[in-house]
């Protein structure tokens, strides 16, 4: 079980994350972090992996703080692994696929070369590649194959929780759906828990039961994926939802981001961070921190005007 408690991350004066709470239960299950660029999704992932030191709060895995897991042994014990974004740069260009997987296996267990080799082939086949791919260089693989290799490497470390950073970015739609199907199957077969980082709402549906919507490092809305995606309560989530392209319809662009709402340019005082872009904003939003309220769909949203938002939708 992965717990994020009151996590705050600062880069200089910029508050990239502010008091974020999150729980990912033991698998098979999935929690998605959704938001635009600059919302703090990737920072959250990096903090969870122990790559960013939080200013406040903690990340706890099975009762152990990840801050104490910087060593290799600690990481191994955590059972937490990353499937990195941008698979173009995620594989060493001077290493063939086989050795790239083998090194993970051998780092984990003291198994012999031949054992590792056999296991590499098994793993490759288990993600829909063939044993023949072990001799390929990264650049000889298609985007989808590279993503599969990145998944295999993470699996080779025998994780219990996988952080999936934009697992389908840069892939065309048919390949996206293949990768999503693969991830869904692995989740069940290997009882994996997913922490999915994505800007694409359509990806969430297939892999996660729960969604957390981030904006400028703060949680805007959270709850069961079905409610958050079908009946978003927060104006920000609603704007994200409307921006999803539907065949034959023109997607509605979310309200533009004024300069004042760039990451780091926080409003003075305790107001809602979204107020500068929110069509429903009032003086109340500018001055007072929004309360956490339960929406009709069962999710919680941090907004003063849930009733009006429900009507506006």
């Amino acid at each position: 079980m992965l717990e994020v408690r009151g996590l705050t991350v600062r880069f200089g004066d910029v508050e990239a994350l502010c008091e974020v709470d999150l729980t990912v239960a033991d698998g098979p299950c999935g929690v998605a972090i959704v938001g635009e660029s600059g919302s703090g999704k990737t920072t959250l992932a990096r903090a969870v992996l122990g790559l960013v030191r939080p200013a406040e709060g903690s990340v706890v895995i099975d009762g152990v703080d990840v801050a104490c897991m910087r060593s290799r042994a600690g990481r191994r014990a955590s059972g937490l692994q990353l499937v990195p974004q941008n698979t173009d740069g995620a594989l060493n260009p001077r290493m063939r696929v086989g050795p790239a997987i083998e090194e993970v296996l051998r780092a984990r267990c003291g198994c012999s070369r031949s054992e590792a080799r056999a296991r590499v082939r098994e793993l490759l086949v288990s993600v829909g590649l063939s044993a023949e791919h072990e001799r390929r260089w990264a650049h000889e693989l298609s985007g989808g194959q590279r993503q599969r290799v990145a998944i295999v490497r993470a699996l080779a470390a025998e994780p219990r929780t996988l952080v999936l950073d934009e697992p389908t970015s840069g892939l065309d739609l048919t390949v996206q759906s293949q990768i999503l199907r693969l991830l869904a199957a692995l989740r069940t077969d290997r009882r994996l828990a997913y922490l999915l980082i994505t800007h694409s709402l359509s990806v969430v549906d297939e892999l996660c039961e729960d969604v957390v919507v981030l904006y400028l490092g703060r949680v805007m809305e959270r709850g069961p994926a079905a409610s958050v995606l079908r009946r978003p309560a927060h104006p920000y989530t609603q704007a994200l939802r409307k921006a999803v392209p539907v065949l034959g319809q023109r997607p509605e662009a979310p309200p533009p981001r004024p300069p004042a709402a760039a990451p780091g340019a926080e409003p003075a005082g305790d107001g809602c961070v979204y107020h500068a872009r929110c069509p429903l904003a009032t003086d109340l939003c500018r001055n007072e921190r929004p309360p956490t309220r339960v929406a009709p769909g069962g999710q919680t949203a941090m907004c003063h005007h849930l009733d009006r938002a429900a009507v506006a939708q």
Binding site: L51, Q85, G89, A90, N92, R94, E103, A107, R108, A156
Partner: protein
């Protein structure tokens, strides 16, 4: 058995030729540079067999034949004591090329590990390594070499030590920059998260992705080292007296340049061709080392 041996040899020759041909098609740069560099090395090694007057490589003098222009008997002419310049240029390679090779090998031996460690680990290790390197870079190369020569007796060995002492810091800087960039890359971070050990990260992930820069730099520095060795010889620090080093030959011939042009021109051409060949070889190797440029090999 004896009947099949020639057949086998010819099959091997055919295969080698075919392979060389396919490589030449894939990378003409590499083939041209490789062929030229190979030719230079072979000619240099075979100098005693090719040179028309092997004795002229040493202290022999033929006053009657001093300063003759190039002719059939003396392809490159003769020097001020009548020695055959063609012979001396051939033998010069036996001094100049090893100097360049040893200096560059030594520079890599010192520079690559230091740069790798400084660039990958950063922090105080980086500070210490780079400040020490800066100290060496702070001295003008010739001044440092002169200081070293004051301590050591002038010889080819001194020249090698002096040049290496001024050459390695550039390799530290080069590798450090590369290692920093590679160390911050997504694949190194991912490998670290996946539990790959630090030595393995350094030698299997970071180093191979830095080496291209080193190979190219080495090939490009080859000419430079030969020239620096020449400068040192000119100042009386490098190869001495009758030793026919290319740089020494150029500096000895300098005084005669207006009237006896061949004394500077032919050793100079030797330096130029060697530098050019190894440059081509370096460029070709860089292309070849880039897996993206490779046709898939099975």
């Amino acid at each position: 058995m004896s009947a099949t041996a020639p057949a086998r040899a010819s099959a091997l020759a055919t295969r080698t030729l075919w392979r060389a041909g396919s490589m030449a098609r894939r990378s003409p740069l590499l083939a041209a540079g490789g062929a030229l560099a190979f030719a230079i090395v072979v000619v240099t090694l075979a100098a005693p067999l090719i040179a028309p007057y092997p004795a002229d490589a040493g202290t022999a003098t033929h006053p009657a034949q001093a300063l003759l222009a190039p002719s059939a008997a003396h392809l490159f002419g003769t020097d001020e004591v009548g020695r055959d310049l063609f012979t001396r240029v051939l033998y010069g390679g036996r001094v100049s090329l090893p100097i360049a090779a040893i200096v560059l090998f030594g520079s890599c031996l010192i520079g690559v590990p230091l740069g790798l460690i400084a660039g990958y680990f950063g922090g105080w290790i980086d500070e210490v390594v780079m400040r020490v390197t800066d100290v060496f870079l702070a001295f003008p190369p010739l001044l440092l070499s002169l200081a070293l020569a004051a301590v050591l007796t002038p010889s080819v060995k001194t020249a090698v030590i002096a040049i290496t002492a001024t050459w390695w810091p550039w390799y530290v800087r080069l590798i450090r920059g590369q290692a920093r960039a590679v160390g911050a890359s997504s694949y190194v971070e991912t490998a670290r998260l996946l539990g790959v050990s630090t030595p393995r990260l350094l030698f299997r992930h970071v180093l191979p992705n830095c080496l291209t820069a080193v190979v190219v730099q080495v090939s490009q520095d080859l000419g430079g080292v030969i020239l620096t060795a020449a400068t040192l010889s000119f100042l009386g620090l490098g190869a001495q007296g009758p030793t026919p080093e290319w740089g020494t030959l150029v500096s000895e011939g300098q005084d005669y340049f207006p009237t006896q042009w061949w004394l500077v021109t032919f050793p100079g051409l030797a330096i130029l061709i060697a530098a050019f060949a190894f440059n081509l070889l370096g460029d070709g190797t860089r292309d070849m080392l880039d897996p993206k440029a490779q046709v898939r090999r099975r």
